[in-house]
């Protein structure tokens, strides 16, 4: 598979270049190299949340359990990347602000995302019957997604931010990233996204075949 080879090369480049090229933010120093991994992880966590929500809407419209497999696989991966982003972010916060956790708006939103995923899995394990489980989980996932705009609106107003934002987009909205930073950051973003969809498709296939086998055993 050609794209797997490209993914391998991209990942290898990202890992090597993240440590060899100059650190992305001179003000913060060497610790800012984590930016190359942390931001794509947080991005994938958000993408997974959207994928899961779209699959949930499709399930409610069509009632095909394959869409529930999709929603579940995306949510599980989203949770994994959410944990990774939280850990990497926390380490970075310790190094730069001397504290693992500060309730900065983005820390708060990723924490809420973790809570939502946790609640989603708790709900799934508490419901019997594949269809009922799929339906209730889909409703919850859509309902949780509806609250996201409120969080984006309220977080910056009530909580002061420590988060470095000028590394990607400047204060006036213009693109502010050095060429060497961009040469690592964007390949990393792409590589993590492709990696996500690859694992996701494997997850969907596993859940589908598990479901098919259950159905065959029953008949």
């Amino acid at each position: 598979m050609w794209w797997k080879a490209i993914l391998f090369l991209l990942m290898a480049w990202v890992i090597a270049a993240a440590f060899i090229l100059p650190a992305p933010q001179q003000g913060i120093g060497e610790a800012s190299r984590i930016f190359y991994f942390h931001v794509p992880q947080a991005w994938v966590a958000a993408v997974a949340f959207v994928v899961s929500m779209i699959a949930s809407i499709r399930y409610l419209r069509k009632g095909d359990l394959l869409d529930d497999d999709r929603a579940r696989a995306a949510a599980e991966l989203g949770f994994l990347f959410c944990v990774l982003a939280t850990i990497t972010g926390s380490i970075f916060a310790k190094v730069t602000w001397q504290s693992f956790w500060n309730w900065d708006p983005r820390e708060t939103s990723i924490f809420i995302l973790l809570l939502i995923y946790g609640a989603y899995f708790a709900l799934r394990s508490a419901v019997d019957g594949a269809e009922k489980k799929a339906r209730l989980a889909a409703v919850y996932s859509i309902f949780a997604f509806v609250t996201v705009p409120f969080l984006m609106f309220i977080m910056p107003r009530v909580l002061p931010s420590l988060h470095p934002s000028d590394s990607v987009v400047g204060s006036s909205g213009e693109f502010a990233m050095s060429a060497s930073t961009a040469a690592v950051f964007f390949p990393s973003l792409i590589a993590f996204t492709v990696l996500f969809f690859w694992i996701y498709s494997i997850g969907v296939r596993i859940y589908r075949s598990q479901r098919k086998r259950m159905e065959e055993q029953e008949s």
Binding site: E131, E218, S219
Partner: protein
């Protein structure tokens, strides 16, 4: 003309097959008796028809002369009486009736409620809590609720359970009238109860 078509309905609970390829079609004036031993799937079939459970495979289509009926339309013209049904224990019989009449989109006065209760020989007991009713009286009140919407489709699961002779006579009248104006489906294992039916389905094996 209202009708219902059931096509290759199957239901499994885990590995247990309860219904296997059940098909039939009924239109106004038809009456169907569903018979079979305990555990043969009679209640399951009725619950699927009433929209209270989803089939594993197969379809149920309700229609009138013009079109297929959607879920809300079916709800308006279908009623179900069965042992799994419970009304509100902490409402009186009259309050139960008034509430379900409102849910059916009609408002009723006390005189009407009294007439209805008297017809089911519950006259004078409208102020008692449903929870304090005997099982036979509960069964009668369920019939009162089921008839509130003048159903086209009337599904009865063990219609005379807990009823005395008087109650059985009332049920027989209800079934006879329903046969003329609509469709009645009765699940039972009492031989005496399916004499009225002009179609019969035997479940099990």
């Amino acid at each position: 003309m209202y009708g219902v078509e059931v096509n290759k309905l199957s239901k499994r609970f885990g590995t247990r097959r309860v219904l296997e390829d059940v098909s039939f079609s009924l239109s106004v004036g038809d009456s169907l008796a569903v018979v079979g031993k305990n555990g043969s799937g009679k209640t399951t079939l009725l619950k699927i028809l009433a929209g209270l459970a989803a089939p594993t495979r197969g379809t149920v289509t309700f229609s009138n002369e013009k079109q297929k009926l959607d879920r809300a339309e079916v709800r308006q013209c279908l009623s179900y009486v069965g042992p799994e049904l419970t009304l509100y224990d902490f409402l009186t019989a009259a309050e139960n009736l008034t509430f379900f009449a409102a849910m059916r989109g009609t408002s009723v006065d006390t005189a009407w409620v009294e007439t209805m209760l008297a017809a089911l020989q519950l006259g004078g007991r409208g102020g008692d809590f449903y929870g304090a009713y005997s099982s036979g009286m509960k069964q009668r009140l369920k019939y009162a609720v089921a008839l509130l919407n003048d159903p086209v489709y009337l599904l009865l699961d063990e219609p005379t359970a807990n009823l005395d002779d008087e109650g059985k006579k009332i049920v027989a009248e209800i079934i006879a009238r329903q046969k003329k104006n609509g469709i009645v489906i009765v699940a039972t294992n009492e031989a005496g109860e399916y004499g009225f039916a002009d179609k019969l389905i035997r479940l099990g094996n």
